[in-house]
């Protein structure tokens, strides 16, 4: 083992944080980069299902809240791509390259953003439970060893917590509403339940890996999913909603939630770009880039000077 790697391993073992200019093994840089770019892509793509609801949100208050959530998510993407750019600099990869990879279907983003949001209740479920799931993942990542990511995650998590409150408020309002509104809410939950279980990825990956030892990853997929189920299943049931999984139950012996097979084949199909709305959403992203190209151009040095 060379000296640099040895010193790096020792720093990690002491619980130290790694800054952008510090020595890091290439494998560490690549692992961080892959994770962080996927996160940035997901923030950007995650804004799209809700963006569709800005013109249709019921009332000015809700419209402003959805608008500001979308703005937050785009802001998250901006901050995270910035962290990724510094990591990718030695490879000569720019933000533009990352956005090209995304638009041309070469990069991953979160499975949940490939599903449609047909009703207002979907907006509530997304903001409450998808942002809740994101907060599980990102909350664990606050302990990442890569300092620039940890710093930006503190701000992001604080804002995600607001999104969750906004979602909770929509869900509580619908749950206390007319039978029609409650039915709409139940339908949305039923639609989103499987994608939500998929959100954390399949169980059983090895935590005995460089990624875990180096604190690029903090919690396993299943640990995160269990954290999510522990928090949200009781709340969902308290609202009198049914979780669409006959096998879902809390196992006293293991202290874990047991759930029915959520069809991991479907998960892999979506991750590989075969989601219901993967292409539609990516075309929307492409369209945004074309339509807003003039803003980007206006902000280029040669124009702005």
């Amino acid at each position: 083992m060379d000296m640099d790697l040895q010193a790096f391993e020792a720093r990690i073992a002491r619980g130290e944080l790694i800054e952008a200019d510090d020595f890091m093994p290439d494998a560490y840089r690549r692992q961080c980069l892959r994770l962080i770019v996927t996160h940035a892509n997901s923030e950007l793509m995650g804004a799209l299902p809700e963006r569709e609801w800005i013109p249709r949100a019921p009332g000015l208050g809700r419209k402003l809240a959805v608008l500001s959530k979308v703005q937050d998510e785009i802001g998250h993407a901006q901050m995270i791509y910035r962290v990724a750019e510094d990591l990718a600099a030695p490879y000569g990869i720019s933000r533009q390259d990352m956005l090209d990879d995304l638009i041309e279907g070469r990069a991953k983003f979160h499975n949940v953003f490939s599903y449609p949001a047909p009703t207002w209740a979907d907006v509530g479920i997304i903001a409450w439970l998808v942002d809740g799931a994101a907060l599980e993942t990102q909350g664990a990542l606050l302990k990442t060893s890569y300092a620039p990511y940890a710093r930006i995650l503190r701000r992001i998590c604080a804002e995600e917590a607001v999104h969750l409150k906004h979602g909770e408020d929509i869900v509580l309002t619908l749950a206390a509403g007319t039978p029609g509104q409650r039915a709409m809410l139940q339908d949305a939950l039923t639609r989103w339940w499987r994608p939500l279980l998929h959100f954390f990825g399949p169980p059983g990956e090895s935590t005995n890996s460089d990624a875990f030892r180096w604190r690029v990853r903090i919690a396993s997929n299943e640990e995160l999913r269990q954290g999510f189920l522990r928090k949200y299943v009781p709340k969902i049931r308290r609202l009198g909603l049914a979780v669409p999984d006959a096998e879902l139950r809390f196992d006293e012996a293991t202290g874990k939630w047991l759930y029915g097979d959520p069809d991991w084949d479907e998960f892999w199909r979506v991750v590989k770009g075969g989601g219901l709305q993967t292409n539609e959403r990516l075309s929307l992203r492409r369209l945004s880039r074309e339509e807003h190209g003039w803003v980007v151009a206006a902000m280029r040095p040669e124009t702005a000077a």
Binding site: S68, D72, Q78, D86, I152, R155, M299, R300, E302, A305
Partner: protein, 100 residues
């Protein structure tokens, strides 16, 4: 095509606060950097003042690499190096010691 510059963004959370690092961004020049910094870091009025600094202007010294601070502990530079004044005061009467 000229490149965008990287700016480090710092801010004061309230008047008189210590300046802290908010994050970084890319922009074509300081004016646009300020516009973007407001959008990125101040949507909830988090700061009363924002600074944008071109990254090459930030020069860093690190404890580990650049011997920040003395190599040996130097207690005489710190208030904690004079804790026994509490005992010393007791010779001059009173239980408390010192001026607390």
């Amino acid at each position: 095509m000229a490149d965008l510059e990287v700016f480090e963004v710092f801010g004061l959370e309230k008047p008189g606060a210590v300046v802290s690092h908010a994050g970084s961004l890319q922009a074509a020049g300081p004016d646009l950097a300020v516009v973007l910094a407001k959008e990125l870091f101040c949507r909830r009025s988090e700061y009363v003042e924002l600074w944008v600094v071109p990254r090459p202007c930030v020069h860093v010294a690190q404890r580990a690499k650049d011997a920040l601070g003395p190599a040996e502990p130097r207690s005489y530079r710190l208030g904690s190096g004079y804790r026994d004044t509490v005992e010393k005061w007791k010779r001059f009467g009173g239980e408390q010691g010192g001026d607390r």
